[in-house]
């Protein structure tokens, strides 16, 4: 019961702050609400006993990406950006896509509601103290069964990094 209460709390915070992220006019306020949404998602990960995902979400998104976001928001001239029309151009396309996504998720939830253990994973099927250590499991599967995709992803990231360095160098 407590688990459910915490889940709905986090989920509610995530949804509300996600909505506020896109509706606030002030970019810094938007960033604050985006941070809140990310933190609430991290809380849901923790609720699911995925500690590693929880902390990676915080370190990577909140501590890394959002710091850069806020940094850039403060560096650029926001007065110009506020006067421009920003989002509204693709209203109908956006609505269509989000409706399609909602329909997909809803269909998945609906179709799997009768078969326990399949489709949507059942919460707390294993007691918390019987779970294997989370980060070790992630590391094992990353470096054994999913080694090739992992390496490809890291090469991709390396390429992106070198690309960024090269592009930054060209200007000066």
């Amino acid at each position: 019961m407590l688990d459910q209460a915490i889940f709905y709390l986090f989920a509610g915070v995530a949804v509300v702050s996600a909505i506020l992220t896109v509706t606030r006019r002030n970019a810094v306020h938007s960033a604050i609400f985006l941070i809140t949404a990310l933190l609430a998602t991290a809380g849901i990960f923790l609720e699911l006993r995925a500690e590693f995902l929880f902390i990676v979400q915080i370190i990577l998104y909140v501590g890394g990406i959002m710091v850069l976001f806020v940094f850039v928001i403060m560096l650029v001239n926001l007065d110009v950006a506020v006067r421009q029309l920003q989002f509204a151009r693709q209203k109908w396309v956006g609505l269509l896509i989000s409706l399609a996504l909602a329909a997909q998720v809803g269909l998945m939830l609906w179709s799997s509601r009768k078969i326990p253990g399949q489709g949507v994973p059942v919460l707390n099927a294993v007691p918390a103290d019987k779970l294997p250590p989370n980060s070790e499991e992630v590391a094992k599967s990353l470096f054994s069964s999913y080694l090739l995709p992992f390496e490809i992803a890291s090469v991709l990231l390396l390429v992106a990094m070198i690309g960024a360095v090269v592009m930054a160098k060209k200007r000066t």
Binding site: M1, E51, V67, V70, M74, N134
Partner: protein
């Protein structure tokens, strides 16, 4: 109804201990921070051949309380053009992140709020890194140029040095093989050697990066008073300002604790597994007893009766702590039959002492640096981070990794692992000197006519 009661009982059983510990930390930490500040002022005074605060209480021992009262009753000013909500939120965020990070630390085998977090050290690092938002948002919300500059510098600095600190942590974690705070210290006990000795270069990198991350001198550019008044804190006053102050010093304690846990053996005594060095156990009670004796000797020299009484009380406190620390060492000698019963008590008490001792030594080192080194220029700071520290830490991770492979191959462990890691560390040092020389050469070739970009 019964279900609810049962759930509440379950909740209490599972969470009351962390709750009480957490409340204790929130309640006690401001006091500890106040005394850290007093100690800092005393050390500064000592290094500058002054006396420091002497008026409030004997040797200024009550100064933190006077300061706290002063800060609490000060007028709370919010600038007219400030973003009120964010201005209110920012200091709370800063101090909240710092306090939350404390929850993941283990001060001795028994004292940990969040027991056995699987990702312990990552939790501490990640959560304490969130405190940067307090600084950045506070600087932005003040709607002042000095504040914004300080905030920008701070975030740039944190992003630059976070990488180096993370890489240094990776070195220690390679030896530990776990992220759990308790298991990291246990690994050091099993190995019989602190990871700081196995990876001295990583310890050095973490030391420098942690100074930069906590915005301490010589890297305190976000609040460089000669350029930016007080940086991001310029518009804050009274209670809000003291929250920032609390966050800064709490962060110091957090980084010191992380370094202690990972590199300096946590709550372990030096040479904790060497039997013939067991006399080191007498050091904690002796140290506190000597401090107590010193306080007693100073008592007659106090000018007022109240101050004499206070000094006596301090001496009594020291003796009480010494007695508590001495009991688990002396009891097994007097009555060997009780040795097993005293063991957990010994581990808790002496563990706590050693942890706090190491953390204090680390923080003392911070202060020592602060009063010795002049402040860096911002471009120098960035160059040090990106051109020196980050390459060094990455190369060090690589070399330590190779050393670990060699160690596993030849079944080296404990002190013999030094055979593999020492050459790696020396190689890292040589590469560090090489990088420095290369960087200086590059700097010399550049035309030095451009004025330094001190505003980042």
């Amino acid at each position: 109804m019964q279900e609810v009661t049962q759930a509440t009982m379950e909740f209490m059983k599972q969470y009351w201990a962390p709750l009480v510990c957490g409340l204790a930390i929130v309640a006690v930490l401001p006091l500890i921070v106040g005394y850290v500040v007093l100690v800092e002022r005393k050390i500064m005074a000592d290094m500058q051949a002054r006396l420091g605060p002497m008026r409030v209480g004997p040797h200024g021992l009550l100064q933190p309380i006077a300061d706290a009262v002063k800060l609490l009753i000060k007028e709370d000013i919010i600038p007219d053009d400030a973003d009120k909500l964010v201005f209110w939120l920012a200091p709370v965020l800063s101090v909240g992140a710092a306090l939350l990070a404390m929850a993941g630390l283990a001060i001795g085998p028994a004292f940990q709020i969040a027991q056995d977090i699987n990702v312990g050290i990552l939790f501490v690092v990640g959560v304490s890194a969130m405190g940067i938002f307090g600084i950045v948002l506070g600087g932005w919300a003040s709607n002042s140029h000095y504040s914004l500059m300080g905030a920008l510098r701070s975030s740039a600095q944190l992003v630059s040095y976070e990488t180096a600190a993370g890489m240094a942590l990776v070195c220690g974690l390679l030896f530990a093989g776990t992220l759990n705070v308790t298991s990291i210290v246990e690994a050091q006990r099993n190995q019989g050697i602190w990871f700081g000795l196995l990876a001295p270069v990583a310890l050095f990198t973490y030391l420098v990066a942690s100074i930069a991350e906590t915005n301490r001198a010589p890297f305190d550019l976000p609040e460089a008073e000669s350029e930016l008044v007080a940086g991001y804190m310029t518009e804050f006053s009274g209670f809000r300002w003291s929250l920032y102050f609390l966050a800064e010093y709490t962060n110091m304690i957090v980084v010191a604790s992380v370094a202690t846990t990972l590199f300096l053996g946590g709550w372990l005594r030096p040479f904790s597994e060497t039997r013939w060095l067991n006399f080191i156990d007498f050091f904690p009670p002796l140290l506190t007893a000597v401090i107590g004796v010193y306080c007693l000797m100073r008592t007659p020299k106090q000018p007022a009766r109240v101050q004499q009484l206070f000094m006596l009380a301090v001496a009594g406190l020291c003796f009480a702590v010494a007695a508590v620390l001495a009991s688990p060492v002396l009891v097994p000698i007097a009555k060997p039959s009780l040795a097993a019963a005293v063991r957990p008590f010994y581990a808790g008490i002496h563990g706590g002492f050693w942890f706090i001792f190491k953390v204090s030594a680390y923080i003392y080192f911070f202060m020592w640096l602060r009063f010795t080194l002049p402040r860096y220029r911002f471009d120098q700071l960035m160059r040090l981070g990106w051109h020196f520290l980050i390459p060094l830490s990455i190369i060090n991770v690589l070399l330590i990794g190779i050393a670990m492979i060699v160690g596993v191959y030849y079944h080296l462990n404990g002190w013999r692992l030094l055979l593999a890691t020492l050459p790696a560390s020396i190689m890292a040092l040589i590469i560090a000197l090489f990088i420095l020389a290369l960087d200086q050469k590059g700097e010399a070739q550049k035309a030095p006519s451009r004025a330094p970009d001190s505003y980042a």
